[in-house]
Symmetry: C2
Subunit: 340 residues, 2 copies
């Protein structure tokens, strides 16, 4: 059943039927009711392809995911984000398109997306301190929003970020308050803006207390379990091992726990850990949380960012939206006063 057939059945023109269905005002209310009823009865649904061709809109959004053998963008953090964004898209009838491309083909991919009008907008993941994608997308006139932000966040584009700096300052302070002085940072990859800011927060907390930053206690890597394990293992073998750790992800923190326990240390007693917690859905469970953490749901971020993007697509002239989310500090079992 297509528009033509439906309008024949109704003895109306395609114009009127189309307008009735799409809520345009120039059609009488009884007519509209009749049309809607008929559409339901005959199970009419407009063809997406035709609609897109006619309107020059794709009703789709892309996530371009750079993939390299070294760094996998497709990780649990990403998938939770996608789950959130996906639910927004579903709600508004948008499609989500995930393009997995090699690092050096990203630009090509964006250009292609813009040119082909295959999508109405994109979400940019994991921005670097300075990120060429921002300028590229602006020049391509392709609506976009950024998960995170670049160093010069005053540039005019939409982003949503958690307050990484304050979160890590707070996390570090929490350990300092407990008496810890040698505190390690297991950061993400520091070329990325979020990790850079996290480090700043960590350093600020230390400096404020007059504790010198020890670069030997700062690590940077993909936020996975073995990373936490390996670093902790080697840290604990040092003479002057840290008594507190701040980590960038629960995954990493799990590695820390494994290493500590293997060394016979009790988490929360012999070693304290505060982690950033994205509230990954597959790690949630009821009860007192294992980890003391600063937390913010990455799934909610996905949901919200998608909303911002869709809004941006509908209203290209609205000013950019920039949201900075604060995190919650949740005290779990992984922290305790420094043992003397």
């Amino acid at each position: 059943m297509n528009l033509k057939e439906l309008s024949n059945k109704l003895n109306l023109s395609q114009t009127t039927v189309s307008r009735a269905l799409n809520g345009y005002p120039e059609v009488g209310e009884k007519t509209r009711a009749r049309v809607i009823e008929a559409a339901r009865k005959y199970n009419y649904h407009p063809s997406y392809s035709a609609k897109r061709l006619a309107m020059g809109k794709s009703h789709a959004v892309a996530h371009v995911v750079p993939q390299s053998p070294q760094h996998s963008m497709i990780n649990p953090h990403f998938s939770d984000f996608i789950a959130g964004a996906g639910s927004t898209y579903a709600k508004f009838g948008f499609e989500m398109l995930i393009s997995v491309v090699p690092y050096d083909e990203q630009e090509k991919c964006y250009r292609e997306l813009a040119r082909s009008k295959r999508v109405d907008g994109v979400i940019v993941h994991g921005p670097y301190k300075e990120d060429p994608r921002i300028g590229l997308l602006q020049s391509l006139q392709l609506p976009f929003v950024v998960h995170g932000r670049t160093e010069e966040s005053n540039i005019d584009y939409s982003w949503l970020d958690v307050n990484n700096r304050s979160s890590f300052k707070r996390a570090t302070n929490f350990l300092l308050d407990l008496g810890h002085e040698r505190i390690a940072l297991l950061n993400g990859i520091e070329e990325m803006d979020f990790a850079y800011r996290r480090r700043l927060g960590y350093e600020a907390a230390l400096t404020q207390r007059g504790i010198e930053v020890d670069s030997g206690l700062i690590f940077s890597s993909d936020m996975i379990e073995p990373y936490g394990y390996d670093v902790t293992k080697s840290l604990l073998q040092r003479e002057n091992a840290p008594t507190g750790l701040v980590t960038s992800s629960v995954l990493t923190a799990l590695g820390v726990v494994r290493a500590a326990q293997e060394c016979g240390l009790q988490i929360g007693k012999d070693l304290s850990v505060v982690t950033f917690d994205d509230e990954l859905s597959f790690l949630q469970y009821p009860g007192v949380p294992l980890f003391t953490s600063v937390r913010s749901s990455i799934m909610n971020a996905g949901r919200r960012l998608a909303e911002i993007l869709l809004d941006q697509i509908d209203n290209p002239d609205k000013p950019p939206v920039q949201e900075l989310w604060e995190t919650d500090l949740v005290v779990g079992q992984s922290t305790g006063p420094r043992r003397v």
Copy 2:
């Protein structure tokens, strides 16, 4: 630049230009060369929307992801799978569309996808022992392939599965050979076919050695870290605690390790663990693996399944493809002989 403009520039008809570009034989070689050259020069690319409308093909594949508050399909296993499938799609110029929908709207979603011709095919995730989606998709005439299979795998559809039964039999046997007799199974959700088969394998191994299956040692849940932790914690408090465990995912196994260490037990000495390992990309690291495991890359499965689907789309008349992958047994540090 659209087709019309390009053909005007060339003083050719749209027909000829279109055919030249799409490799049809009824166009002279010099003409074709001329057309291709011009297309490059003017940076002409056909419009996807128009192409789709004209051909009734979408060059896209959907993954319908049921989402509920209880079970999150979007987990690290899924995202690795997607990464694999995505790379295949990218290679062949297909789009990947992820539809996150509530459980009870799946059928509607599939019907909608089929009706609207928004995609040329779908990949079915996480089949149950009996799965209504199979019949639905067959009746909708929408090409599909299944990751895993249903109990009656002789039905005529394409699937790719790992040999869950033999893998778990093997894993269990490995523990039995080490002298373990009380072996727990931390399975996935047993309504799902893969978990059902895993249990069969586990039980078969025990029975073959004349060990009675103790249903008190069998657990079933989403394969996450806290699950492994909780179950292990409670198991170790029993009088007659198991000395060996078989788990369905490395995530769960990590929880097992955490619980065991917390109880002062050493993994590989006091407690042995064999896990199924999907080779999740974010958990890979060099060196002797922590876990003894039966393994098969879920990312490769995604890659291959996408290939099968695309092939199926191109050649609808080819018979279904059914692949059963065997797993590798890799010995790590998590297993050792039973202590007396």
